[in-house]
Amino acid sequence: MDFDKALELFEPVLGFEVHVELNTRTKMFSSAPNPAAPGVDAGKPNTMVTPVCLGLPGSLPVVNEQAIRYSISLGLALGCEIAPSSRFARKNYFYPDLAKNYQISQYDEPIAHDGAVDVELANGKTFRIEIERAHMEEDAGKLTHVGGATGRIQGADYSLVDYNRAGVPLVEIVTKMITGAEHDAPELAKAYVSAIRDIVVALGISEARMERGNLRCDANVSLSPRGSGTLGTRTETKNVNSLRSVERAIRYEIQRQAAILAAGGAITQETRHWHEDTGTTSPGRPKSDADDYRYFPEPDLLPVEPSVALIEELRAALPEPPAERRRRLKESWGFTDLEFQDVVNSGLLVEVESTVAAGASPDQARKWWTGEIARLANIDSVDPSSLVIPKDVAALVALIESGELTDRLARQVLEGVIAGEGSPAEVVAKRGLKVVSDDGALIAAIDEALASQPDVLEKIRDGKVQAAGAVIGAVMKAMHGQADAARVRELVLERANSQA
C-alpha cells in the first residue's frame, strides 16, 4: 500500500533494539582476542577461541572489566541511570552457534536503564526517543549454511560454525515504545541509529561499522488503527545492516502491514529478514511473548557493582553530547543550515569531522562525502562510510588543493581507493593519474589543436571567448584528461591576447 495512504489509516508504533559490538581487546568473558577490536580481522574460522568461547566442560566465564567501563559510559551517554548492582543471567536455548546452549546476558537487572536520546530530523525537528535499558551480553558464533540456493538454513546440505565471534562483547540498547513519529517514522529510524552510532564513535567504544556487524539494528513495527487506541501486532525485522536499509525497512514494513490489515488480514507476530536487493522483508521464525528462555541468575558470575567513584569518573570523561557537538561543528565549519543538514541527514557527520581533522577543508570534506562518495555508495546500496576512510579522503583533497589532481582525476583516484588499490598517493602512482602541469606539454597540445582550428584565436580576439572551449576540449582529449582545464584555458587566452 502507498505510504501516505498507510499513514492515513494507521499510526505506526516503533521500537528498536540496537546491538553494539564493543571494541575491547579481548572478549566479554574470555581472554580470546576480540574480532571487533580495531585493526583486527575476523581471522580463519575458529582460531580466535579459548575453552570458554567453545563452552568446553569445566570452563568458566570471567567478566571483561573494560567492557563494564564501556557499558557504563554508553549508559551515561544515553542519559541512563547506572544500576548500583546489576546481574548476568543465562538465556537458555539450543542453537549450534551458541557454544554453551545458553547466552550470558542481562535480564531483569541491566547495568543501565531509563535514558533518552534526542534525534534531529531533516526538517530541523528534534524527537526524543526514550531508552528502556542498555544491557551487556555476549555475541553468538556465526553459521554458514552450505548447499541450497539461498544460503539459508532451509535446503542447506550442512552448516559450518565459526566461534570467532562467540563471546564478542555486546551492549543491547532497547528503546521504549515510540509513538507520534507518523510520516517521519522511516527517517526517524535512520536518524536514531545514526545518533547511536555517533555516540559510540564519540565514546570510542565500538568500530561501529554496520556492514561488518559492529552495529546491528532490529526494528519493531506495529500499526495502530487510527482512533482505535489499540496496539497492533508487531514484527521484528532483524539485522538491518545499513542506515539506509533501516529507513527502507521501516517504510516497507509499514506499507506491508497496512496492506494486510486494510484487506482484513492479521499480522503474524514473527521475526522478519530484510532483503537488501529487493527492498522487502520475508518471514523468519514465529516469535511469541511466551518464548521461554528459562532465564536465571548466572551462578558463575558475581553481580556487577560499580563504585560511585567509577561511575562519576566515567561521567566526567564523557565526550560532548552529539546535539551540542553538532551546533559547535556547524559554527566552526561555517556551513549553512542546508549544507549542515545535508551532512547530518546523510549520516556523514563523523566522516566529515574525521576528514577535517585529517587536514581537509570543511567544504571539500563535505563536498566529497555528500557528493561523489555518497553517489557511489548509492549505486552499490551501501553506506558511504563503508567505502573509504576519512584519512584517504583528506589525502585526496590535499592532492586536489596542491594542484596535483583535478576534480575529475580525483574521482578516478577515489575509484581506485575504493577498489582497494591503496592510498590516494599509491593509486596516483599506480594509475599514472597526475595532472600534466608542465606548461610546455600543454602549449604543444594547444598548438596542435590550433593547427586544425586556426580561426579560434581570431574569434577570441573578437570577444567570442567561449570559442576557446573547442580548443580546451581537444587538448583535454589529447592529454587523456590529465590536464588542468583551467590552466589550459588560461594558456589559450594568453595566446590569443599575445598575438593580438
Binding site: G55, L56, P57, L60, P96, R294, D300
Partner: protein, 508 residues
C-alpha cells in the same frame, strides 16, 4: 602388600624428603596395589601411563637439590569430574567417553606444580549425580569394607581408592555431600572447603553455586596438606575468594598436638539426627560428643529449623543449574555424536546424542530443572528454593553465634547394598540430608571416621562444620577429635577394614 601404601601422605612426605624412599618406589607400590585390587574395587576409570615417568622426574629434581613442596612425589588420584589434558575426563558419562580436554583444571595444574604424581581418574556417579557411584556409565565402584556395598557418591571412586590403599590422596568434588558422604561410608576423611576457597575452573560443573573441589584422604593432616596445595584465589573462577588462607596443615598439626578442646563450643544440630538415622550411627555420634566433652569442649544443642527444607530446596536449585550446565553436551563441539537413522537436522542429532549419551538419573534431573525454571513455575520452584537457601544461611549464622563448630553424623546410615536404593531416588537423595545444608550456605564441612556401627561393623562418619572462611578451625578441631578417637580405640579405623590388615598406628 607393600608397607609404602599403608603410609599416610604426611609420612611419605617425610620419607621422600629424607630420601629414604623415592617417588618411583612409592608410585610403583600404588600402581601395583591398583593392579592387585582394582579389579574388585573399580575405583579407577583410567590409570595414568605417565605416573612413573613423572615420579622419576621428581626424584631427579630432588637429587639435584630442587626446593620441593611437602607433597612432592606423593601420588594422588583425581576424580574424573576434573579436566586433565593427559587423561580422558568423562565425569562418569557415556557422552564424554574418551574425551581428553585441551587444558588442565586449575587444581590439577596446582597438583602438577607441587610435583604430586597423578595416578589416574576415579569413578563417580554420572556428572556427580548420585550417592552411591551406581549412576556411573562405566559401572559401580565397590566399597573396600564390603564389596557388595556402595562406596558412597558421587565420589565413591576417590573414597574407595583411598580406603583400599590404592592412593594416599585423592581429589573429590562436593555439591551436596559427594566428598563427605563417601568418606563416612568408607572410613576416610573428606573436606568440602568454603565455597570459593578452591577454584572450580576445569571442574565439569554440576551446580555452579554449590560445587566445591576438596581433598579425600585417610587422615585429617593429609587433607590439610592437600588443601594447602589446591586452595587459593584463581582469576579464572569469578566466584573464587581472594582470602589469604592460613596453613591448614599447621592448624591440623597444632590441633592433634594439643589434644584439648577446651573453650571450643561444639554445636549439635538438632535437625541433623534422630529419626531416620541408623541407631549405630547415632550411638557412635553420641560417643564422639562424649570424647569431645571429656577433652574440654562445651557441647551445646542448636536448632536450625529451615534445614527441614534443605533437601527440597537443593533438589530444585541443583537440577535447575544442572539443566543449563549440561546443555553444552550437544555433540557439536566435543564428545559423543549419535546420528539418528536416516539423518536429520542438527536438533535431531542433538536429541539423539543426549538421549543415548545421558543416563536415567541425569535425564531425571535435567527434566526436573528445566521444569523448575520454566515460565510460570520459576517463582514457585526456583524462586522459593532460593528463599529457603537464604533462610538456611540465616540459621547457620544464628547457630554460629552459639557455637564455634557445628557437628552431626555425616550420613544417616552406613554403606547400603549395591542396588538397594537404585529404584528409589527419594531414598537415595536422603543420604545427603546432613551434608546438603553446608553446600546451600557455602560453609566448609569435613567428614571423618567416628567408629564402626555395632550392628553391621561398617564405618560411620562425623561431620564438622565452621563458618565460611574458617576452614582452619575445622582442621584444628578435626585433628584433635581424630587423635582423641584413635587414642580411645587404640588404632586407626581404616586399619580395621577387612582384607586390609595393616596398621600404621596413630596419624602423625
Amino acid at each position: 602388600m607393600s608397607d609404602l601404601i599403608s603410609l599416610s601422605a604426611a609420612t611419605l612426605s617425610d620419607l621422600l624428603a629424607s630420601r629414604e624412599v623415592s617417588s618411583v618406589e612409592v608410585t610403583q607400590a600404588h600402581l601395583d596395589r591398583i593392579a592387585e585390587v582394582d579389579g574388585d574395587i573399580r575405583a579407577f576409570l583410567h590409570v595414568s601411563a605417565d605416573a612413573l615417568t613423572t615420579a622419576a622426574e621428581v626424584d631427579g629434581a630432588r637429587r639435584l637439590g630442587a626446593k620441593l613442596g611437602p607433597l612432592a612425589g606423593v601420588p594422588v588420584a583425581i576424580k574424573d569430574v576434573l579436566c586433565t589434558q593427559d587423561m580422558p575426563s568423562t565425569a562418569g558419562s557415556r557422552i564424554l567417553e574418551g574425551w581428553v580436554p585441551p587444558y588442565d583444571a586449575t587444581v590439577v595444574s596446582k597438583l602438577r606444580n607441587a610435583k604430586l604424581i597423578p595416578l589416574g581418574k576415579t569413578n563417580m556417579d554420572e556428572f556427580a549425580m548420585g550417592s552411591s557411584t551406581e549412576h556411573s556409565a562405566f559401572g559401580p565402584t565397590h566399597n573396600p569394607w564390603d564389596l557388595e556395598r556402595i562406596p558412597g557418591g558421587s565420589g565413591g571412586g576417590s573414597a574407595a581408592a583411598v580406603a583400599a590403599f590404592e592412593a594416599p590422596l585423592a581429589l573429590g568434588s562436593d555439591t551436596g555431600g559427594s566428598i563427605r558422604q563417601p568418606a563416612a561410608v568408607t572410613g576416610t576423611v573428606g573436606m568440602k572447603p568454603t565455597y570459593g576457597g578452591v577454584s572450580r575452573y576445569g571442574a565439569i560443573a554440576l551446580a555452579s553455586s554449590l560445587d566445591q573441589v576438596g581433598p579425600v584422604t585417610r587422615t585429617v593432616l593429609d587433607a590439610a596438606l592437600l588443601h594447602d596445595v589446591i586452595g587459593g584465589h584463581d582469576p579464572r573462577d569469578s566466584t573464587s575468594l581472594t582470602d589469604e588462607w592460613p596453613s591448614f596443615a599447621e592448624a591440623a598439626r597444632s590441633g592433634a598436638k594439643s589434644g584439648s578442646l577446651k573453650g571450643v563450643r561444639v554445636g549439635v544440630v538438632k535437625e541433623l539426627g534422630g529419626e531416620g538415622f541408623q541407631s549405630g550411627v547415632s550411638e557412635r555420634f553420641a560417643e564422639a560428643l562424649d570424647v569431645m566433652a571429656a577433652a574440654g569442649a562445651e557441647i551445646v544443642e542448636v536448632s536450625t529449623p529451615s534445614f527441614t527444607y534443605a533437601i527440597a530446596a537443593y533438589y530444585l536449585i541443583l537440577p535447575a543449574e544442572a539443566s543449563s550446565n549440561l546443555a553444552k553436551f550437544d555433540s557439536v563441539r566435543f564428545g559423543l555424536r549419535v546420528n539418528p537413522a536416516g539423518g536429520g537436522t542438527v536438533e535431531d542429532v542433538m536429541a539423539a546424542t543426549r538421549g543415548s549419551g545421558f543416563g536415567a538419573e541425569v535425564k531425571r534431573r535435567v527434566i526436573l530443572g528445566t521444569y523448575a525454571l520454566s515460565a510460570g513455575y520459576y517463582d514457585a520452584y526456583y524462586g522459593s528454593a532460593q528463599k529457603v537457601r537464604t533462610l538456611i544461611q540465616r540459621d547457620f549464622a544464628e547457630a554460629f553465634d552459639q557455637a564455634d563448630v557445628l557437628v552431626s553424623p555425616s550420613a544417616p546410615t552406613t554403606a547400603f547394598k549395591l542396588g538397594e536404593k537404585l529404584e528409589d531416588p527419594l531414598a537415595m537423595y536422603l543420604n545427603d540430608i546432613a551434608t546438603i545444608p553446608a553446600n546451600l550456605a557455602g560453609v566448609p564441612g569435613m567428614g571423618l571416621p567416628m567408629g564402626l556401627a555395632p550392628e553391621d561393623g561398617l564405618p560411620t562418619g562425623i561431620q564438622i562444620m565452621a563458618p565460611a572462611h574458617e576452614d582452619a578451625r575445622i582442621y584444628s578441631v578435626g585433628a584433635t577429635l581424630e587423635a582423641l578417637l584413635e587414642q580411645s580405640w587404640g588404632h586407626t579405623l581404616i586399619s580395621r577394614a577387612p582384607g586390609f590388615p595393616i596398621a600404621e598406628g596413630k596419624a602423625k
